[in-house]
Amino acid sequence: MSEPVVQTAGLTKRYGPRIAVDEVNLTVRRGEVYGFLGPNGAGKTTTLRMVLGLIRPTSGTVSVLDGAAGSPGVMARVGALVEGPGFMPYLSGRDNLRVLARYRRLAEAEVEDALERVELGERGGDVFRSYSLGMKQRLGVAAALLGDPELIVLDEPTNGLDPAGMAGMRSLVVDLARGGQTVLLSSHLLGEVQEICHRVGVINRGRLLRESTVAELLGTPRLQVRAEPVEEALAVAREFTGDVLVERGELLVALAPEQAPQLVRALVARGLEVHSVRRSDRSLEDVFFEMTAAGAVVRREETVS
C-alpha cells in the first residue's frame, strides 16, 4: 500500500506570468483511491496533464510507476480520462475504443469488456456524436479501463452523469481499487471524494494545501455546545480535553458523543446555562471551504486550544 505510484516534486507550470501549478508535491500510493480536490481552475487538470506527460512542467519532476511521465513504457500501464472524453465523433463508441485498442495492441475482446463495464454494451454501435453527455463520459472511462492499467487517472469522472450514473461510477471506482488498481481521481464534488477516496490532496490556486487521509482531514469528532457564560463553559470543557475551539459563541469540544452526558452534568453542576448540545458533523465540505476560502483565516484566529 505504501509504494508510490505517482510522485511529484516541486511540480510547477507557468503560462506566462500566471502560475497554474505551484510547487506541488503529491504522492499517490499503490492500491489507493486518491482524491484530488479543488475548485474549478485550481490546477487539478494541469497537474494531471503533467502526470500523463501531455504537457511539460516548467520546473519540478513527476515520476509515474517508477518512470518518466508520458514515456511509452509507463503510459502502456496507465489509463486516463482527462478534461472530458476526446473521441472521433463520426466513429461508433465501439470503433473509437477499437482505434485505442490498436494503439495499445490489445485484443478486440478487451473493447467489449470495457464497454460492458460502463454499461455501454448495447449502445456501442451508435456513433459517438449521438451520445448523451453521460454516455460520452462513460465511454471516456471505458477508454481509461482498456488493458487493465495499473494506474487509472480520472479527471472529474462524474461530470455530466445523472445521480444513478454517479452512483454507478462510484461503485466502479471502488471495485477498481478492490481489484488492486490505483485510482487518481480529481473532483470538485466533496461528497464523492469523502465516500470513495482513501487519501485526498486539496489544491487551490495552484498550491497543494494539504495531503492526508479523509479521516485526518475531518479531524476528531466534536461536540458542539452552546452554554453561557462562554468563558466559564470553556474552562469546564477544558477539564475534559485540551482541544476546544470557540466558533461564533459555541464551543467545539473534541469529545466522543458518548461523553456528552458527563460534560453536560459538569456544566450544569457549575450553574451554567446549557442551551444545546449536538454532534458536530463536520463534512469534508466544511474543511474544504475553510482551507480554500479567504475567510478561513479570520475564523482560525478565534481558535482557542
Binding site: 501531455l54 504537457i55 511509452p72 472524453p85 472521433m88 465523433p89 470503433d95 485505442l100 494503439y103
Partner: protein
C-alpha cells in the same frame, strides 16, 4: 517498429471510417473524370471548343480520352485541384483531433509521439496510394469504354509509362497531403489549416511566379516551392502546361530536379511535423 505498425493500423481504422476522407477522394475522382474525359469527349462529339479544349483538333481530343493517354490524364489534375484536395485531406487528418480532443486521448495510450505521428503519416500515405490506384483503374475503365464506343485504338499505355504516371500522381498528391498535415498540426484546427493551404497552393505560388518575371530573386525562390516542383514533375511526363494546357503544369524545372525537390519535401515535411508534435504541450 511494432508500435509504429500498431499506430498505423489504428490510424488506418480512423481514416477508413471517416466519411470526409471518402468525400475528398471521390471529389478528386469526379474532377479527374470531368476534366480528363467528360469535357474532352463532349467537345469531340459536338465539335465545339470549350475553355479547356479550345483550339484542340478533333483528333487530339479523341486521343486524349483513349487508354494510351491514361498516364497524362491521371497526372494532369494533380498540381492543381488534386494537390488542393490533398491539402484538405492532410489538414483534416492532422487537425480535427485537436478540436475533438482525440489526439489527447491517443497520446496517452502508450506509443511514443513519434510512433503515433509516423503511423498517422503512413496511413495518410496509404490513403493517397489508394486514391491513385482508384484513379488508374477508373481512368483505364472509362478510356477503354470510350475506345470501344468509338472503335478507336484500344492499346494500353506501356507499363513503364503507366507506372511513371501513377508514381508521379502519387508523389505530387502525397507531397500536398503531407503539406496539409503539417499545416493542420501547426494550426490545430481544420479551418485555418485548410484555408491557408488552399490559398498557398492555388494562389500564392502562381502570384509569386508572376512576380518572379520582374524580380530575379523571387524567381529563384519559386524554383524550390512545392507547387513549382509538382507542376514541373507532371510537365516532365509530357502533359501540356501553359495557357492552353492543364493549369498548374509547368516546365520550369527539369524532370530530375523536380523529382528531387518533391522527394525532399516528402522527407522534410514529416520530419518537421514529428518535431512539432514531440515538443508541444497538449493543453
Amino acid at each position: 517498429m511494432t508500435t509504429m505498425l500498431a499506430s498505423t493500423r489504428a490510424d488506418v481504422l480512423r481514416l477508413r471510417r471517416w466519411p470526409a476522407v471518402w468525400v475528398v477522394g471521390a471529389a478528386w475522382l469526379v474532377l479527374m473524370v470531368l476534366f480528363g474525359y467528360v469535357f474532352n469527349y463532349l467537345a469531340y462529339r459536338t465539335g465545339s471548343g470549350s475553355f479547356a479544349t479550345d483550339g484542340m483538333a478533333g483528333e487530339l481530343l479523341l486521343r486524349s480520352v483513349l487508354p494510351g493517354n491514361v498516364p497524362e490524364t491521371i497526372t494532369a489534375g494533380t498540381p492543381m485541384f488534386g494537390g488542393a484536395l490533398m491539402v484538405v485531406l492532410g489538414a483534416m487528418a492532422a487537425s480535427s483531433g485537436y478540436g475533438w480532443g482525440s489526439w489527447k486521448t491517443i497520446l496517452t495510450q502508450g506509443p511514443s509521439r513519434t510512433s503515433v505521428v509516423l503511423g498517422s503519416l503512413v496511413s495518410l500515405t496509404l490513403a493517397v496510394a489508394t486514391t491513385v490506384l482508384a484513379s488508374v483503374l477508373l481512368a483505364l475503365g472509362i478510356a477503354t469504354s470510350l475506345a470501344l464506343v468509338e472503335g478507336a485504338d484500344l492499346a494500353l499505355p506501356a507499363a513503364t509509362d503507366l507506372g511513371r504516371g501513377a508514381g508521379t500522381a502519387f508523389l505530387v498528391l502525397l507531397m500536398w497531403a503531407l503539406f496539409g498535415y503539417l499545416l493542420g498540426t501547426l494550426a490545430r484546427g481544420p479551418a485555418l489549416a485548410v484555408g491557408l493551404g488552399l490559398v498557398w497552393s492555388l494562389v500564392v505560388e502562381n502570384l509569386l511566379r508572376g512576380v518572379g518575371s520582374l524580380l530575379s530573386w523571387v524567381d529563384a525562390l519559386t524554383t524550390v516551392l512545392p507547387g513549382t516542383a509538382a507542376g514541373s514533375l507532371v510537365g516532365s511526363l509530357g502533359a501540356t502546361g501553359g495557357p492552353e494546357g492543364a493549369p498548374g503544369v509547368l516546365d520550369t524545372l527539369s524532370g530530375t530536379q523536380a523529382l528531387v525537390t518533391v522527394l525532399a519535401y516528402a522527407v522534410l515535411l514529416p520530419m518537421i511535423t514529428v518535431l512539432v508534435v514531440r515538443r508541444r504541450d497538449l493543453a
